[in-house]
Structures are given as structure tokens and as C-alpha cells.
């Protein structure tokens, strides 16, 4: 993971699902080595934006660039090749495989030798506190552990940009703090660029230098956490919700 971080540029991204405009004209930049957050109420189009970046489906409009290279419309495995690791909001472990094998498969992306990839995977598992559970079948993990497994598998592919989709949802406050500390340390140590979707505002505020806010598929604001916390439009549509 000494490969450092990559710059992400998103321009005019749009996606419609059978007439439903899920994302419309969304653009933002994540500089190399930065931690940014993507927030917004349910159904705002955050996961859809991730899916377009990660190549799950091609955007109806717009471009995605990683370190200046256009990756729009590439297949997910090619996007992974290009250096993007992602987690799934609805966790997708390889259920019948051991925790170690789950992460090993990620590690095989850049380390074709199985025994060396296994060593890599064990290192990542140690970092995420899953080492003791390496022999467990992934389907037997608790939800917080599955979230950790998502992060571990994505990290094992040695990405230069990490997309995290609500990895703290369902974690207890102490577990959230652990994850925040881990991500911050990882970012400081390796320079890995991180873009995270998160509803847990404590984590968002603690981690991100810059926040992009989506609502009904459109970007309604972006800026520093302090600026976003004071932004009236954001308070109206998003933070305001919590007050009700």
C-alpha cells in the first residue's frame, strides 16, 4: 500500500433508471491523499454515484477520471485494476469462504503468488482486528465484522482510491471511533485517497477535510465540514432531518 493516493475527478455525472433521475450533473474532485465525504439523505444518489465510479453501470452522462486517465464506463474489475477499491453498502462477503480467503482474493489482484498474497491478507486482517477470526466462515460474522471485512478485502487490492459506502453504519460508537482512527492512520501512513459515504456525522466530521452534499440526485453544496455544518440548504434538507 505504499503506492500512494490518486486524484479523482468527476464531471457532469448523471444516471436515470427508467425515467427516475437518480443522479444529475454531479461533479467534484478529490485530490490525491485527501479524505472527502459524500453525504445526503436516503435516496439522494450517493451509492449510485459510487456505482458509476466503480463501473457497476455506465453513467448516462459525464466522465470519471483517475489521475487524469478517463475510466468512465470501464468494467468493475478494470476499475479495480486502475486502482479503485470499493466496499458495498449492503455487504457482499464471499459467504461460504473463510475470512482469510475473502481477503486473499482481494490481495491476489496485485500479488499473483498465492502464498505471498495470503501473507498480505493476514497483514490487512491484523490491521482491521479480524486476524483472530481468519478461519471463520464469512457468513458467520456479525454485521460490524462484515463491514470490517468489506474494508479489508477492498484494501487488500492495494487501491490508490478507496470508496467506502457506509462502513460505520451499524457500528457501536467505540467501534466507529476505532474505524475512524484506523482510516486516519492509514491515510497518513500511505497517502491513500479516501472518499466515504456516511450517515454517521460524528465520523464524517472527524475524518473528512471536504464534504459534498447530494439531494435528489443533485449536488446542493460542498465545502469544509465547518462550512457545511453552517450551510442553510444543507441544514434544511439533511441535517435538519435529525432535529425532527
Amino acid at each position: 500500500m505504499s503506492t500512494g493516493g490518486a486524484t479523482l475527478n468527476v464531471r457532469g455525472l448523471g444516471k436515470s433508471f427508467r425515467g427516475l433521475r437518480a443522479v444529475h450533473d454531479v461533479g467534484f474532485d478529490v485530490p490525491a491523499g485527501a479524505i472527502h465525504a459524500l453525504i445526503g439523505p436516503n435516496g439522494a444518489g450517493k451509492t449510485t454515484t459510487f456505482n458509476m465510479i466503480a463501473g457497476v453501470f455506465p453513467p448516462s452522462a459525464g466522465t470519471v477520471q483517475l489521475d487524469g486517465r478517463t475510466i468512465t464506463g470501464l468494467r468493475p474489475d478494470r476499475v479495480c485494476d486502475a486502482g479503485i477499491g470499493r466496499t458495498f453498502q449492503i455487504v457482499k462477503p464471499f459467504p461460504g469462504l473463510s475470512v482469510l480467503d475473502n481477503v486473499l482474493i482481494g490481495a491476489l489482484k496485485r500479488e499473483p503468488d498465492v502464498s505471498r498474497a495470503r501473507d498480505r491478507a493476514l497483514t490487512v486482517l491484523r490491521e482491521l482486528g479480524l486476524h483472530d477470526k481468519r478461519a471463520m466462515t464469512a457468513s458467520n460474522l456479525t454485521l460490524p465484522d462484515r463491514k470490517r471485512l468489506e474494508v479489508a478485502r477492498a484494501l487488500a487490492t492495494q487501491p490508490r482510491l478507496l470508496l467506502l459506502d457506509e462502513v460505520m453504519a451499524g457500528l457501536r460508537p467505540t467501534e466507529t471511533d476505532q474505524m475512524v482512527a484506523f482510516l486516519r492512520e492509514l491515510n497518513a501512513r500511505t497517502g491513500l485517497t479516501i472518499l466515504l459515504i456516511e450517515h454517521v456525522m460524528r465520523a464524517v466530521m472527524a475524518l473528512s477535510q471536504h464534504i459534498v452534499v447530494l439531494n435528489y440526485g443533485e449536488k446542493i453544496a460542498e465545502g469544509s465540514p465547518e462550512a457545511i455544518a453552517r450551510d442553510q440548504r444543507v441544514l434544511d434538507v439533511y441535517l435538519g432531518q435529525d432535529a425532527h
Partner: protein, 348 residues
């Protein structure tokens, strides 16, 4: 030795000893069993072998083929036709048969995977191709059409022409099964094998982890169809006759998949255990049905099939993952944590 470790993997010392003893027994069997038990044993090993071939696709890569008779039949017909018309050795014919079967597998796979047919829809495609080929061969005069193709019984005996007694056929299929076992083990512990498992478990997550899913599935179908064709060649020369109605039969495709399902999908020993269970059950039930017929003085046609079906139901109901994973754990043949070597010096 690294290779040894890769081959034995998560097996305990006890498991390795058991496997070695089992292998020795199989090797020595023809010396001390009669011709009837040998014919049963031949069937067991044959079903284990073709089950292993199918297992590569379904057990490893998670792609359900219900048309493996297509590859068995094409392999068998190709080698048999070359021997029949030109006196070509089945070993040469096998190469041709494997290529033909892989071509067919490649077409089925390409159509299915390119258009992302999953699960039962892919299975339907595999059935369609097998059925289509069966009808085609009914009218394929060069290989005898629906009247069948018969291999010469006389001629030089020997391994080169696959002409000989049951003992020869036994050792040939045993060697194939052993090779397939080793090859599958090596594949499964390679990068390709892990990619297959990822595809089987969750294709979307596999792709996100950088796995080329289409490529992985294609390699699986090519290897599986090629392996099946080898079994088809063996069967063609063992039985010495081929009919489209049986070579490409739906029932044959089902026979292929039973052993690995009973034994344990995706496991390497499973097909052997499953084949042993199936063939011996089949035998026991044949005798039982006859006896019942004698005692009650009734016709018992079909009774065997009913017993058989019930027994399969029971096995699948009680051991959903197959017999082998359960048995291996019960007997202490595998480590519970394969990534922790047992305490130094003491195998469990």
C-alpha cells in the same frame, strides 16, 4: 516440500494416512476382488472422474451445467469415429475429442456468459445444446446415425488401442481420476481457483475485487468440458458402442452431477465418496427389489428407482453440503483452522 503441502493442504496427518491407504487399496484391488466387484469399482471410479469434471464448473465456479452429456458424447463419438474409420488410436482421438468438446463448451459458455445468463437459465442453455446435438447425431450417418456406432471387438489388444479386459480399463480410469484429483487440487489452490470461488460466491463482489468474471467462467467451462470428453472417450471404448439416444441423453447428464452433489459440491474427495455411495446403493437396491419381488411374487420394476430416489432425498436432506465435508470433520481428516499449522511435531 511446497508441492506436497499444496496437495495435502488442510488435511491432518490422519487424513493423509487415510488417503494413502485408500489409494493403495484401490491400486491393489484387482488382485483380490472378483470380476463382478471390479465392474462395480470401475463404475465408481468412472463416476468419480466425470463428477470431478463437472465439479470444476459447478462446485468451483458455480455455473450449473445440466448438459454435460454433450461433452462426454462428443469426446466419445470423436475418438470412436476416428478409430472406426481410420484406425486412429483412442489416445490420439482423445486429443481431437477434447478439442471438439472444448469448442462446444466454449460456444455454450460464450453465449451464456456473454449474455449473462445465470443459474437455471444457463442450465437450460446447456440442456438445449445437448438435446440439439442428440437430434443432430440421430441423422449423422458417418457415425451411424440413430443405429449407433460399434467399435471392433477383435484386433490387437493393448493399451494403445484401449482394447482389453476390465483390469486394463480399471487402471486407465483410476489413473485419470487420480490425475484429475491432483490437477483440481492444484487449480483450486491457484489464483485461478480462488477467482472461481469468488465468482461462485458473489460475482459482483468478485468483479469489484478485480476478478475478470467472464474469463474465469470461460476457463472453467473449457477445462470442465475437456475433462468430461476424456471420460467420454474412456466410456466409449469400455462399452464399445455409442448411440445418440444414450450418449447425449438427459439422464446421462444427471448421472454426471449426482456423485459430486451427494459427496459434497466443490470438494475434491466428494465425487469419489458420492460415486461410491451411489453405485453401491444402486446395487443394494437392485438386489433388494429382486428379493422383494421373489418373496411377494410381484413384479418390482421401478421399485429400485423409488428406493434410490428416497435414499438420495434422505442424503440431501440430512447432509445438505454433501457427505464428505461432514465425514472428513467427523473422522478428523481436516484441520479446523487450516491456516494454523498443528502444534510442532504433533499432528492431530
Amino acid at each position: 516440500m511446497r508441492l506436497w503441502h499444496r496437495l495435502t493442504g488442510d488435511m491432518t496427518t490422519r487424513g493423509q494416512v487415510a488417503l494413502a491407504m485408500f489409494a493403495a487399496l484401490l491400486l491393489a484391488a484387482p488382485a483380490f476382488i472378483g470380476s463382478y466387484p471390479l465392474s462395480i469399482l470401475i463404475l465408481v471410479v468412472y463416476f468419480a472422474y466425470i463428477g470431478q469434471a463437472w465439479n470444476v464448473m459447478m462446485g468451483f465456479a458455480g455455473q450449473l451445467s445440466l448438459g454435460h452429456a454433450l461433452y462426454l458424447g462428443l469426446g466419445g463419438y470423436t475418438a470412436a469415429a476416428l478409430a472406426f474409420h481410420f484406425g486412429v488410436s483412442p489416445w490420439i482421438g482423445m486429443i481431437a475429442g477434447v478439442l471438439v468438446a472444448m469448442l462446444a463448451g466454449g460456444i455454450v459458455g460464450f453465449l451464456g456468459f456473454r449474455f449473462s445468463l445465470a443459474g437455471v437459465y444457463f442450465a437450460l442453455l446447456t440442456i438445449a445444446f445437448a438435446e440439439f446435438t442428440r437430434i443432430l447425431f440421430d441423422h449423422f450417418k458417418w457415425v451411424g446415425g440413430s443405429a449407433g456406432l460399434f467399435l471392433k471387438v477383435s484386433g490387437d489388444p493393448g493399451l494403445w488401442h484401449l482394447r482389453g479386459g476390465p483390469v486394463m480399463f480399471y487402471y486407465v480410469i483410476l489413473a485419470m481420476a487420480a490425475l484429475a484429483l491432483v490437477a483440481c487440487r492444484l487449480m483450486l489452490t491457484s489464483r485461478l481457483g480462488y477467482h472461481w470461488l469468488a465468482i461462485r460466491e458473489d460475482p459482483e463482489a468478485a468483479q469489484a475485487s478485480g476478478v475478470d468474471v467472464f474469463r474465469g467462467k470461460m476457463i472453467a467451462v473449457l477445462i470442465s468440458s475437456g475433462m468430461a470428453a476424456v471420460g467420454g472417450v474412456w466410456a466409449a471404448f469400455y462399452y464399445k458402442n455409442l448411440f445418440p439416444e444414450t450418449a447425449f441423453a438427459m439422464g446421462r447428464s444427471i448421472e454426471v452431477i449426482l456423485a459430486p452433489i451427494i459427496g459434497g459440491l466443490g470438494t475434491l474427495i466428494g465425487p469419489f465418496i458420492g460415486a461410491a455411495v451411489l453405485v453401491s446403493l444402486g446395487d443394494v437396491f437392485t438386489i433388494a427389489a429382486e428379493k422383494i419381488g421373489e418373496i411377494f411374487g410381484v413384479k418390482t420394476a421401478g421399485l429400485k428407482q423409488i428406493f434410490y430416489g428416497l435414499a438420495l432425498l434422505a442424503i440431501v436432506a440430512f447432509r445438505r453440503d454433501g457427505v464428505w465435508p461432514w465425514l472428513a470433520r467427523k473422522l478428523g481428516f481436516v484441520h479446523s483452522d487450516p491456516y494454523l499449522p498443528p502444534p510442532a511435531g504433533k499432528g492431530r
